[in-house]
């Protein structure tokens, strides 16, 4: 845990300095907003990293859970006028129920078949968002969702939302790190390493796979709620297959072997996609693809493996 503490400290100080920097440097004055989305996506990818990197199960349908959280929050606050906190709780409840129902049969599948099953699930949820017009507003979505508030305090300014989102991310990160360094985390990694052996050593593998699937769906659902109350508008296209794939890419680019990879990959890709590549005008999509390709080709362990590779290069050259 010692080295984790150092990392957490680095992240926290980065997060504290960041808004100050943004405030004083006009050229990056819009970076705070991007960081808010990065934080929201980080929640999804932390869960996904636990699922993929630790337990070795893939999901190409996690945008669906983001959407379920988002729509639960949106519908409960905008349509029924209830407190956003109820919306978040409902999102968590609905997501985890759906995750159980989908997870039990899906997680028996392996490899590409699991990928297809989760992908299909994501598509089905996406279609439901589109077709249940009375509930979800259909493809045109619905607007005028209230901001998140505690009493009379509204999380409406960028800075307050930045603090809120990253506080939640840090909590999620703590929870995830604690899990990783426990018998639960070891059980997941054992499943990843050799499912049969894990089972024979007394790990109830199907239950643990389901647990992590549900947990990651809860992470995504909370992220969805935060997304909704920030953008105050929902339509299905924010929760389609491409988003599911984007989340997987964030995890892999950062490095599957560690939740830190998920955080780094998410921040990097969010800034790349939304900010840094706009200088390339028409070619931005192309450049995005090429960067992605180069990272996966030359750093298959993701960005977190970079220092290790550099270190081993250095020792080799000696």
């Amino acid at each position: 845990m010692g080295c984790e503490k150092k990392k957490i400290l680095t992240l926290v100080s980065f997060l504290v300095i960041f808004p100050v920097l943004v405030n004083y440097i006009p050229a990056i004055s819009n970076y705070l907003e991007v960081m808010i989305f990065a934080g929201i996506f980080c929640l999804v990818t932390i869960g996904l990293s636990l699922l993929m990197g630790y337990a070795g199960q893939i999901s190409l349908g996690h945008a669906a859970f983001l959407g379920i959280g988002a729509y639960s929050s949106g519908i409960i606050t905008a349509k029924f006028g209830l407190s956003p906190w109820i919306g978040i709780a409902a999102g968590i409840a609905i997501s985890s129920c759906i995750a159980v129902v989908v997870g039990i049969p899906s997680l028996k599948l392996k490899g590409h078949y699991l990928a297809m099953a989760t992908l299909g699930f994501g598509e089905i949820v996406f279609i439901v968002f589109n077709e249940e017009v009375n509930l979800t507003g259909g493809p045109s979505g619905f607007a005028d969702i209230p901001y998140l508030h505690v009493g009379s305090f509204e999380f409406s300014s960028e800075l307050t939302y930045y603090i809120l989102v990253w506080a939640v991310v840090l909590m999620g990160l703590f929870f995830a790190l604690n899990l990783i360094h426990s018998r639960v985390g070891r059980a997941w990694r054992a499943i990843h390493g050799n499912e049969m052996a894990a089972e024979a050593m007394g790990v109830p593998t199907s239950r643990y796979k389901l647990k992590i699937f549900v947990l990651s769906s809860i992470y995504a659902s909370v992220a969805g709620s935060l997304y909704t109350h920030y953008i105050c508008f929902l339509n299905p296209s924010s929760f389609d297959l491409f988003w599911s794939i984007k989340f997987v890419m964030m995890v892999i680019v950062g490095g599957m072997s560690s939740v830190w990879g998920a955080i780094i990959g998410t921040i990097l890709l969010t800034y790349l996609g939304n900010e840094w590549l706009s200088a390339f005008k028409h070619f931005d999509v192309l450049v995005y693809g090429i960067i992605l390709l180069l990272i996966t080709m030359f750093l298959p362990g993701g960005i977190v493996s970079l220092p290790r590779i550099l270190r081993s290069k250095r020792t080799n050259s000696r």
Binding site: N178, G193, A197, E199, A200, P204
Partner: protein
């Protein structure tokens, strides 16, 4: 009822092939029992049926008189059956110590919420898991390698690691699937000693092994199967002299006259 493990009428089909046909045997507490037989006789399949990795089509398996045949593998582990694998099945991306800690899973109980919030009881339990883990590492002599990735160990040490991991579940009986496979003479000698130590610590041992020297040397009792059927059972001496057994091994590269 003095048997620890009792298997009755175990039968297993793969498609049209009968891999196991009505196998019945017992293991007494504190015994070292070996299962031998030519390649493809069904030894590993039998192990898989006992540990629950495969479901037997027919038959009854009892541990201490209680039927375990309906239990999934992880419940059998909790009930007291642990095992190693023929092709070492360690968790390659975990450290040596962590591999052993996984074995403590069924002897600890802090679930996700407690673990996620790192409650006091969880920390206490985690400390206990780690202490026990170290003691099993020391038992097989791997404590120096504790922080290495399991995949970085040489094969011999990986086999030892698997044994430590299996013992960490505190089994009543441990199934060793070809523990000497790929070991050199020196390592095999150490293994023999280790198996004795395991038995002395109160854990019953059931093993599948090809190394006849080892088997004859350490076993109290031997079960011979061929083509999925029980061929013979008894102490090493009687098995060695059994004409059916000699017949079955004719094609194999084993010279019984040496023993």
């Amino acid at each position: 009822m003095t048997s620890l493990l009792e298997a009755r009428g175990i039968t297993k089909h793969f498609g049209g092939i009968k891999a196991l046909n009505d196998i019945t045997f017992r293991v007494k507490p504190g015994q070292i029992k070996a299962i031998i037989g030519p390649n493809g006789a069904g030894k590993t399949t039998l192990f898989n049926c006992i540990s629950g990795v495969l479901k037997a089509d027919k038959g009854e398996i009892r541990l201490n008189g209680e039927s375990i045949v309906k239990l999934p593998p992880h419940r059998r582990a909790a009930a007291g059956i642990s095992r190693t694998f023929q092709n070492v099945a360690i968790f390659p991306e975990m450290t040596v110590l962590e591999n052993v800690l996984v074995g403590r899973h069924c002897r600890s109980k802090c679930e996700m919420l407690k673990a996620g919030f790192r409650t006091m009881s969880m920390r206490r339990e985690e400390k206990d898991i780690e202490d026990k883990g170290w003691s099993f590492l020391e038992f097989v002599g791997l404590e120096e390698q504790a922080d290495k990735l399991a995949s970085e160990l040489p094969l011999g040490d990986q086999r030892m690691l698997e044994i430590a991991r299996a013992l960490a579940t505190e089994p009543k009986i441990v199934l060793l699937d070809e523990p000497a496979g790929g070991l050199n003479t020196k390592e095999t000698e150490r293994l023999a000693e280790l198996i004795h130590q395991i038995r002395n610590s109160g854990v019953t041992v059931l093993l599948v092994e090809h190394d006849m020297n080892l088997v004859m040397d350490i076993s109290d009792e031997i079960l011979v199967i061929n083509f999925g059927k029980k061929l013979a059972e008894g102490d090493p001496k009687s098995v060695k002299e059994n004409p059916d057994v000699i017949n079955a091994y004719l094609g194999e590269d084993i010279d019984f006259s040496d023993l």
